[in-house]
């Protein structure tokens, strides 16, 4: 038995050595909050769902501030999981990371991010960044928008003209009539793209359509504003479902998500219009020969509303500082630099390809957008700048509620069911309103 005892001792020692090696040799991590105020001679991690700015630009930032930037590019969905996991575990993950407009309420309520007004003059920024209001929660600014994303109507002018439409529609009724005309003249069998797949893109499409009908989704206390048949939200849902039932929308769109529809339908000339498209898509997708067969045919259109141009719902990407950041002050300096008007214009291509940040199309600052437009570097730039300045509105003026993800899920599953015919529009609206009432009470 001696041999057995000896073996056990050896194994136990081996296991302890292994654990010790793991703990010491590979150690060095840090958890918990309470970051350093140091703003020079530090390395910060920036985790965003986008490629980094050119290395030369980042090097210039490092040279002027002494802050080294380690950039981590993670896709959006994965990033949200990581943010939640790190915040829940109260563990360091990054010094600056994504703050999506739809998560502002959640992030604010959970106190996962530092209030940006502690570091930047957010009141001054608000005048320059129309979409900053989308990042407010309980009186605090959770993140700073770094691009200007909003929903906008796009039309394939060639197909409209081919159908004999020379004047672009300005109201929802004219728009609907034009789509029917395109279909009746066989210019496009299915002229309208609505992504009816049960996904977030369907919810945002409905928000935009509701805004076009002159309404809002929730009031200040989170109560639904779309429950009655005469409400804009109800009419918007009815309009969308009618569109697929009347053959204006491809039947296969039941399982088509937003970017998929833009890429495979709008960019290929299969449909003539997307009512709630992404700002920037004309320049970044429809005018790119590698991804489009409708180059120079697609243009932005002021949202056809009830009695004229309607608003454009904002869905910008923001950047904020997690509570577990190691160097929050340094991260704030980076955010200030990253959202600087000149840098934004450069990232979007105002100063040539060397300074372009891949995938970055629209500056969140009006000055950046203006510079880009004046230099003729943005397709539809003047129109987009006007829309950003005058008609881009937050989906939820008081900030997205903390229960937004659950509400959105109810919206897209109900609207999807209504489009498939397994639920009436009335029942879908009741389900959505019921969810909002339950969550807000």
């Amino acid at each position: 038995m001696t041999a057995f005892r000896y073996s056990r001792t050896v194994y136990l020692a081996g296991a302890l050595v292994l654990v010790g090696a793991v703990a010491t040799g590979c150690g060095g991590g840090k958890s918990g909050s309470g970051g350093s105020d140091k703003t020079t001679g530090v390395t910060i991690t920036v985790a965003l769902a986008t490629e980094p700015p050119p290395q030369a630009s980042i090097d210039a930032f490092t040279k002027s501030t002494g802050i080294t930037v380690k950039w981590t590019n993670t896709d959006w969905d994965s990033l949200q999981t990581k943010i939640a996991a790190a915040a829940t575990a109260k563990t360091y993950f990054a010094d600056a990371t994504d703050v999506d407009w739809s998560r502002v309420g959640q992030l604010g309520k959970l106190n996962w991010f530092y209030p940006m007004e502690n570091y930047l003059d957010t009141k001054a920024l608000a005048a320059e960044m129309p979409q900053l209001t989308s990042f407010s929660s309980n009186g605090h600014v959770v993140g700073i928008p770094y691009d200007a994303s909003f929903l906008v109507t796009t039309v394939n002018k060639k197909l409209f003209t081919k159908a004999g439409i020379s004047t672009m529609p300005t109201t929802i009724d004219e728009y609907t009539a034009d789509l029917k005309q395109i279909k009746s003249k066989n210019v496009a069998q299915y002229p309208l793209n609505i992504p009816f797949a049960a996904a977030e893109g369907l919810s945002t499409y409905w928000y935009q359509t509701t805004a076009a009908f002159g309404g809002t989704i929730l009031d200040g206390s989170g109560k639904p504003q779309f429950a009655t048949p005469d409400s804009p939200g109800y009419r918007a849902a009815q309009w969308m479902v009618d569109a697929i039932k009347q053959g204006l929308v491809p039947p296969g769109n039941i399982n088509v998500a937003d970017s998929q529809g833009q890429q495979t339908l709008m960019a290929k000339g299969v449909v003539a219009s997307t009512f709630a498209d992404y700002s920037g898509n004309v320049g970044s997708l429809y005018s790119v020969p590698a991804s489009s067969t409708v180059v120079d045919q697609v243009a932005y259109l002021s949202t056809p509303g009830v009695g004229g141009a309607g608003p454009n719902m904002s869905n910008p990407d923001g950047i904020g500082i997690p509570r577990q950041a190691k160097y929050p002050a340094a991260a704030a300096k980076f955010i200030d630099w990253f959202t600087n008007a000149q840098n934004q214009a450069d990232f979007a291509g105002a100063s040539g390809p060397d300074k372009v940040m891949p995938g970055y199309f629209l500056p969140s600052r009006l000055a950046g957008m203006t510079e880009l437009t004046e230099k003729g570097k943005l397709i539809g730039g003047q129109q987009l700048a006007d829309l950003l300045k005058n008609s881009a509105k937050p989906v939820f003026p008081q900030g997205a509620p903390s229960w937004y993800p659950e509400f959105s899920k109810s919206v897209y599953t109900s609207l999807h069911a209504a489009a498939t015919g397994s639920m009436s529009v009335d029942d879908a609206i009741k389900a959505m309103a019921g969810t909002a009432n339950k969550l807000s009470s």
């Binding site: 793991v22 896709d75 575990a89």
Partner: protein, 278 residues
């Protein structure tokens, strides 16, 4: 005696087979088409002119997506192989101890190990993440492998324990009479006899590790450790989804476990059934 209805069974089997295979077929079909063919209306149920261009682009092309797929393929092989080796070694030792050694609390300990399999894996995500962060193991091969090992060890131990208890103990006793130490018995007698069980445990562990998504998603921060499953999922979140490359990458990710499952099926079945028949 009720009448047999073989057509109901056939229909049921056909439905399940189609339900399982059609998505896989569609992935393969899409991967063999060009982008223009993929977005054609109506869709092609067969590739009109099958091309390996997507595979060629992934395996030898330049650009961000091929680089990502190639690097993440290396990562997944490294992580799965390491996790499999460590798991099998530890599980073999543990299973042998539980099967043959007599010590106080043996059964309690063994069932405690098995009971950990009842916990939903996701409930351990945050604590594990915190532990890994504490030791600086986030975004390291070591961290991911350790998490895999902790997750797969109970099942591997159980399978090998079942296998080892089914082996005749008389041979080991003969070895003990001849003066062999416990380790010698394990190394020279038990391991050769338990080899099929060890192989099946290794295969099952490898397949489980290959299919992991959430844990490596959270524990890896960048391409240095991100496995193929996470990298492929990330392609869907792009502004322009590369459908051809996405599906080709999916086929590549499927190919490894599919080949292993088909080629080594008898080992897998053997391992899973071990101990079920005395």
């Amino acid at each position: 005696m009720p009448r047999r209805r073989p057509w109901v069974r056939t229909l049921g089997i056909l439905f399940i087979v189609l339900w399982s295979l059609v998505p896989l077929y569609w992935t393969l079909n899409t991967s063999l088409q060009t982008d223009a063919q993929i977005s054609a209306k109506p869709a092609h149920y067969l590739p009109p002119s099958p091309t390996l261009s997507n595979y060629h682009a992934l395996l030898s092309g330049a650009g961000e997506i091929p680089d990502t797929i190639r690097r993440s393929s290396i990562n997944i092989v490294v992580e799965c192989t390491a996790a499999t080796i460590v798991t099998v070694v530890l599980a073999t030792l543990a299973a042998y101890a539980f099967a043959r050694m007599r010590f106080r609390g043996r059964n309690l300990l063994f069932y405690a190990v098995l009971a950990t399999m009842a916990f939903p894996a996701y409930t351990t995500l945050i604590p594990l993440y915190r532990i890994m962060s504490l030791f600086g193991l986030v975004n390291t091969y070591t961290g991911i492998v350790l998490v895999y090992v902790s997750g797969f060890l109970p099942l591997a131990t159980w399978i090998l324990h079942s296998y080892m208890t089914s082996l005749p103990i008389a041979i080991e006793e003969a070895g003990q009479v001849d003066g062999a130490s416990r380790m010698q018995i394990l190394w020279r007698i038990v391991l050769p006899l338990a080899w099929p069980g060890i192989v099946s445990t290794a295969i099952i562990t490898f397949l489980f590790a290959w299919a992991q998504f959430l844990f490596p998603l959270v524990l890896s921060s960048d391409l240095s450790t991100q496995p193929l499953t996470v990298a492929i999922a990330a392609l869907q979140g792009r502004h322009t989804v590369p459908f051809g490359l996405l599906n080709a990458a999916g086929v590549l990710a499927l190919a490894v476990p599919a080949v292993i499952a088909v080629a080594l099926n008898r080992f897998i079945v053997n391992g899973l059934l071990s101990g079920s028949v005395k």
